[in-house]
């Protein structure tokens, strides 16, 4: 059977086992249902088609409420300006053109880490409002709800990454590496966003309200992003703090994009292992996060929605 199998119009329903006898069924219904319904042709759709439909619906949301984008536009731009001009003078870094250039990779890392926040907010709102139930009552693969949500959240985050890049260019950030390295850095950011989706699905499925998501994500994501090399170099930190921040998965990503963009020299010889091989560790971390959280997140989502 092909993926698109049209139903004969007028048959009340169709399924693999009913394609044969269905026509007899509708004929023999006779007096039981006088105004027999004429049904439109229902085609089986692919997971891709379903996901793209939900993705497009989510994009309409962004179009109708552009203020949803504040979290990846105004907010990080404010961070850039605050850190670059208020704290910047007090933080010494070894970047070709100083702290502002060095900072950009950190803010990008923070922005993409927060895509988990965006996934969680959207998912919780949809579950809470009964939209997920409505989708699940349709003949679609329930995974399309998550795939569509992930696609739109990554788009959302990447709008932020583009805004950050443009802001960076204004305040003095430059890509000093090769073109391929630069593209690789953006690729790593995207990969990181993919891992963050699972965090978002997990939190979004576990929390009962948008307010709860806000509370949980602010109290966990902010410390996690600040306990890294995103805003301040780790070399000058105390031994314990330095170990924590350098093993923070986000630090690998930030170090990797900085190196690929040529915004920082390689980590000093006394830095912990992840910063010595930042690209490798970024990939490893995303694999580990995905492997650990994806099954858990899907289980929690299923339990939440199957109640």
């Amino acid at each position: 059977m092909t993926t698109t199998s049209p139903t004969s119009p007028g048959s009340a329903s169709h399924g693999p086992e009913s394609d044969g006898p269905a026509s007899h069924g509708s004929a023999s219904r006779g007096p039981a249902s006088p105004g027999a319904l004429e049904r439109p042709e229902i085609r089986r759709t692919s997971l891709w088609h379903q996901s793209v439909t939900i993705f497009r619906r989510n994009l309409i949301h962004i179009k109708r409420m552009p203020e949803m984008l504040l979290d990846v536009t105004i907010q990080p731009v404010m961070f850039v300006l605050l850190f670059a001009y208020v704290f910047g003078g007090a933080i010494a870094v070894s970047a070709p053109s100083g702290y502002r250039e060095w900072l950009l990779g950190g803010i990008m890392g923070q922005t993409i880490a927060f895509s988990s926040f965006i996934v969680a907010l959207g998912l919780t709102a949809d579950i809470d409002k009964g939209i997920v139930d409505r989708f699940r009552s349709l003949p679609i693969n329930p995974a399309a709800i998550l795939v569509g949500r992930s696609m739109s959240s990554l788009t959302h985050s990447f709008i932020g990454i583009i805004v950050m890049s443009l802001t960076g260019l204004v305040v003095g950030w430059r890509i000093r590496g090769s073109f391929l390295d630069a593209v690789a850095a953006y690729g790593l950011l995207l990969l990181w966003g993919f891992a963050m989706i699972w965090v978002g699905i997990l939190v979004g499925s576990a929390m009962r309200s948008v307010e709860a998501v806000n509370g949980v994500m602010f109290t966990t994501m902010f410390p996690l992003t600040f306990l890294s090399n995103a805003f301040a170099p780790t070399e000058s930190m105390g031994t314990v703090l330095r170990a924590i921040t350098e093993w923070n998965p986000l630090s690998s990503l930030v170090q990797a994009v900085r190196e690929l963009w040529g915004n920082t020299p390689p980590a000093p010889a006394d830095a912990h292992l992840p910063l010595q091989h930042p690209v490798l560790f970024t990939v490893l971390w995303t694999v580990v996060i995905t492997a650990v959280l994806a099954p858990l997140a899907l289980k929690v989502f299923r339990n939440r929605t199957m109640q």
């Binding site: 009340a12 329903s13 249902s33 319904l37 089986r44 619906r57 109708r64 409002k129 003949p139």
Partner: protein
């Protein structure tokens, strides 16, 4: 195979941990008819609908929709039914048209079909003028109608409606009832849950009353009313001063009387129409003018009280009463 029943539930049980939300519910809905699932808040109505619409799996028991088993063949069930959930689950940030596109596209309808059916539905539910507006600007009644339109975009032969008129003003409620009657006339099988007895009485061919997860009664509205006790004979006299004499006459016919003086009304349990004729004859040459003489069947509200010992809307009423009391004392 297509049987005569569009919806069947057989011994459905749903447990959440220790609590049993639905405890052995069995019923069958013939094609093209309307079943009212009646019960107070927390009776297990929504959980029953969620099992029948594949949103949650039964702990025990089976259910079939349009002949397909909800556990064995959920995909076929989803293609055969539409669901309108308890809160209007339309997308607030989309326009009416976009909501129809979204669900139509997920059903697997092509663009031109969605547009054709969508326009028909918008017209039918008086939403054509609002089609291009964002749903956030819709009234409660408009949202409900759009919700229903969206559920119908693939013209499902079976439709589940979970408390379709909760939160609607009386006018919108009556409008929605008309729409539902039209659907049934076109051959759709409906299962609707409600806590409004009037709604079940108005729409349903058969009623299943559930309380605390169990079916406590089932039958046509008339059967339920008959089962719940006798009808009453009601005599209303025109002049208050005639009331004692009238009471005397009804009593002399061998009936137990109950008098409501302010309403000038006498109520007595009656067997049927023969009692009416008898009483009418007694008053015919009495010189007592009557405003009204008739037989009053018990309302579904009485039925519910009789079956469960509490009124249908009791739970929510006493709950809100309790919070008020708490607020006052706090």
């Amino acid at each position: 195979m297509h049987e005569e029943y569009a919806i069947e539930a057989d011994g459905l049980v749903k447990q959440f941990g220790e609590t049993t939300a639905v405890d052995g519910v069995t019923f069958a809905v013939p094609r093209g008819s309307v079943l009212g699932l009646l019960g107070p808040n927390g009776a297990g109505k929504t959980t029953t609908v969620r099992m029948m619409t594949t949103l949650t799996k039964p702990t025990r028991g089976t259910a079939r929709v349009a002949g397909y088993d909800v556990v064995a063949d959920p995909a076929a069930v989803r293609r055969s039914m539409g669901l309108t959930g308890q809160s209007a689950t339309v997308d607030e940030l989309l326009t009416g048209k976009e909501n129809l596109w979204l669900i139509g596209s997920l059903y697997g309808l092509d663009r031109s079909t969605i547009r054709r059916i969508g326009d028909e539905l918008l017209e039918r539910f008086s939403l054509t003028d609002a089609a291009g507006r964002v749903v956030k600007t819709y009234s409660g009644g408009m949202r409900r109608r759009l919700d229903l339109a969206v559920s119908l975009v693939a013209t499902p032969p079976v439709l589940f409606l979970d408390e379709p008129t909760t939160g609607l003003d009386p006018r919108s409620r009556v409008e929605l009832w008309d729409v539902l009657r039209d659907l049934v006339r076109d051959g759709t099988t409906l299962l609707l849950t409600t806590q409004y007895l009037e709604e079940a009485d108005q729409l349903a061919d058969d009623i299943v009353v559930i309380d605390r997860g169990r079916v406590i009664a089932q039958g046509t509205p008339l059967q339920l009313k008959d089962a719940s006790g006798k009808a009453s004979l009601v005599v209303t006299v025109s002049r208050a001063e005639d009331l004692p004499a009238a009471v005397e006459r009804v009593r002399s016919a061998g009936l137990d009387v109950h008098v409501e003086e302010p309403a000038r009304r006498i109520t007595a349990p009656a067997e049927g129409l023969s009692d009416i004729t008898r009483i009418a004859a007694i008053f015919a040459d009495s010189g007592i003018d009557l405003d009204d003489l008739g037989l009053q069947r018990p309302s579904l509200d009485d039925v519910f009280l009789h079956l469960t010992g509490h009124r249908a809307e009791d739970t929510s009423a006493s709950r809100s009463g309790a919070t008020e009391a708490e607020e006052v004392s706090a």
